[in-house]
Amino acid sequence: MNARESFPRLLLSEWTKLRSVSRWVITFLGALALTIGLSALLASANRTDANVHRNFVVGPSDDPVSDTFYFVHQPVAGDTTLTVRVASVTPPQESPDRRPSRDESLTLLDDPGPYAGAAAGIMIKDGTRSGSSYAAVMLTADRGVRMQSDYAVDHEGSASSGTRWLRLVRAGNTVTGYESPDGTNWTPIGSLTPRSLPSTAEIGFYVSSAPALYTSRGSASSSVAERPTTADATFDNVTLDGAGQWKGDQIADENAAAREGKGGPAGGRLATSGSGFTVTGSGRVGPHAPDDDVVEAALIGAIAGLMALVSVGALFATSEYRRGMIRTTFAATPRRGRVLAAKAIVLGTTAYAVSLVGVVAALTLAVPTMKNHGFAPPAFPTPSLSDGPVVRALLLTAAFMALVSLFAMAVGMVVRRSAAAITATIVLVLLPLIVGMVLPGTAPRWLMYATLAGGMATQRAKPPTITLAEPWAMIGPWAGIGVVAAYTCAALALAWWRLRRTDA
């Protein structure tokens, strides 16, 4: 008796139940085919012109970046030290004549990232070409003191926003940043090595002010408008080893400026006041990849595969209640909690394996097609199976699919009707997405945190954004899978409770 009840045997018996229904096996294969097929199909319909009409420059590591600001600089050869006091920096301000025209209903986006907002700081840079290598220490209007380099590395300093002393020391290829409240007591922020720093580099102080992003989303589409902003900063006590003549330049992408005519960045200004400088700057220094995500688009088929897995999950549970099979099951294994656990493990593992094969194949098949359709470097670095975020997206998407299948099974155990279980699950996954696409602004974010739809966020390899029509892009992948896992655990707990409480 004990031998018969051992858990591995129970697993084996549930596995036999699952694989012996040819309809379910076909549905599993169907889930695989749907995942791969829909991905491949839509990959051939997906096109982008992001590389043709560029709104970025190519950074030192061939990534799309934004590099626009006002730079007061001079060339310095070899090791050097620059010290300034930033007396003040204003928050970004939109010029009155450039406010969004009143005929569009737009929402101002709040970008919490370290590269947004206004910054006043000191920088050492490989020439004045937009997109070249750099290292900088800056005082921001509302993000404290930071040290950054090459559009990718960001170190946090103090949270100060008032008057601050900043210092940048070059020693060989290494640049070290310091900050100080009084010019006497210095705290190091970080030591960075920009990718290419020539022996004679441009060094100086600068002001950037990231454009305000307005988005209009809803009605299944989205658009983003950038409005240039400016910020003013006052620098004094400028000390540089071997000082020469300061020269003010607007760093900008000439191509973009030429293409957009007058729509280029608002020009910066340099004014000397006594021993200090007042600088007005505009533009943003930081990564600037399109929000569209190749990995997400290549995994599109997961949504179709998911629906097939939902029906298997629900039927795996509800079929027990047809023709009283559950009585046979419980007669064979009277401990009902273990039956539920065995069912969950068998279904979850199978669904995960099928999903993982599906998403890996979908990505492998869809990426070359998409590459031919404009999703190519530099705007879209080709995803590789060795990239951390790509692997995360694959593993989490498969987990999302398997967990939703488990959720359907648990709901099936509770309601005992396949129609109800399937509908409840699919509606919880898909309806919030539909409603979220219709709802304007950032309102859909809470929907993503509150429903299974949030799991869609697992498909993104890029950070969350609110500039896209798809509402799941608003939350991160871990938050998304967390929501789904919480739902599944709750449903399984309910199923367990109901199994113990009620008669078969």
Partner: protein, 257 residues
């Protein structure tokens, strides 16, 4: 005469199941609840002038939820006959397959239209209350566009019933038919939203049954719609008609098992 009997028999079948009442109640409640939840969050102050938000369309957005109950009702009306094997007495009583399908469709579409009429009326009334004080004007009964949106939404629900019943006939399986119906309705727009190319997104949404069918709800900002109001209803009708015809064909050819 025989057709009327077939319809009457299907009506008796439908009304003698307690699930029918609950599902129709769900269709109305879902439509009203989601619609007023959305209109309740609107605020005219956060909208620029001229404001393109369409309060009438949003007050009917609950149809997207309410239709789920209609889908389940229509699918079950067909597939439960196979699951419970009542298809045997059904065909013994009415051997002509077209009559059975006609009876089912007439009853299901009729019931969906009736529920739709109640749901849309209630959604308009609820929107009038929810929009009070938001600065937006609620639906106006005498307005031609508001009338069109209301009638279109009711017709939409009727067509959804036909589409779901057709899928049920085609697949004979509750799980399969519901999954297929929900994928057609929800899966297509979600999949389309993955596309970066707005032209392709437009093409797909133009021919997706839900987005095309519901474009008739627009009462302003028609440029944002992917297809014209009645053309959209036409697209949905094509889906529903295709599913019903294919279903009928399969039903007529295959043995009743």
């Amino acid at each position: 005469m025989t057709a009327l009997r077939a319809i009457r028999a299907e009506w008796t079948k439908l009304r003698t199941l307690s699930s029918t009442g609950w599902l129709l109640l769900g269709a109305v409640a879902g439509t009203v609840a989601l619609g007023s939840a959305i209109t309740g969050t609107l605020d005219h102050r956060s909208c620029d002038t001229p404001c393109l938000v369409d309060p009438v369309k949003l007050s009917l957005a609950g149809v997207r939820l309410g239709q789920v109950a209609v889908v389940i009702l229509a699918v079950l009306a067909v597939t439960a006959e196979y699951a419970t094997r009542t298809i045997q007495p059904t065909l013994a009583a009415v051997p002509r397959r077209t009559l059975v399908v006609l009876g089912k469709l007439a009853v299901l579409v009729g019931v969906a239209l009736a529920a739709g009429a109640i749901a849309v009326t209630a959604a308009y009334l609820a929107a009038g209350i929810a929009l009070d004080g938001t600065g937006f004007a609620g639906p106006v009964w005498s307005d031609h566009l508001d009338q069109r949106a209301a009638v279109g939404s009711i017709v939409y629900l009727g067509l959804i019933a036909a589409l779901a019943a057709g899928l049920g006939l085609l697949l004979r399986d509750t799980a399969g038919a519901i999954t297929a119906a929900l994928f057609l309705l929800y899966g297509i727009p979600v999949a389309a939203s993955f596309l970066s190319d707005p032209r392709w997104e437009h093409r797909i949404l133009r021919y997706s049954p839900m987005d095309a069918g519901l474009s008739i709800q627009a009462t302003r900002d028609f440029a944002a719609e992917h297809i014209g109001p009645w053309a959209g209803i036409g697209v949905l009708s094509a889906y529903a008609g295709g599913a019903v015809l294919l279903g009928l064909l399969v039903f007529a050819i295959r043995d009743a098992r």
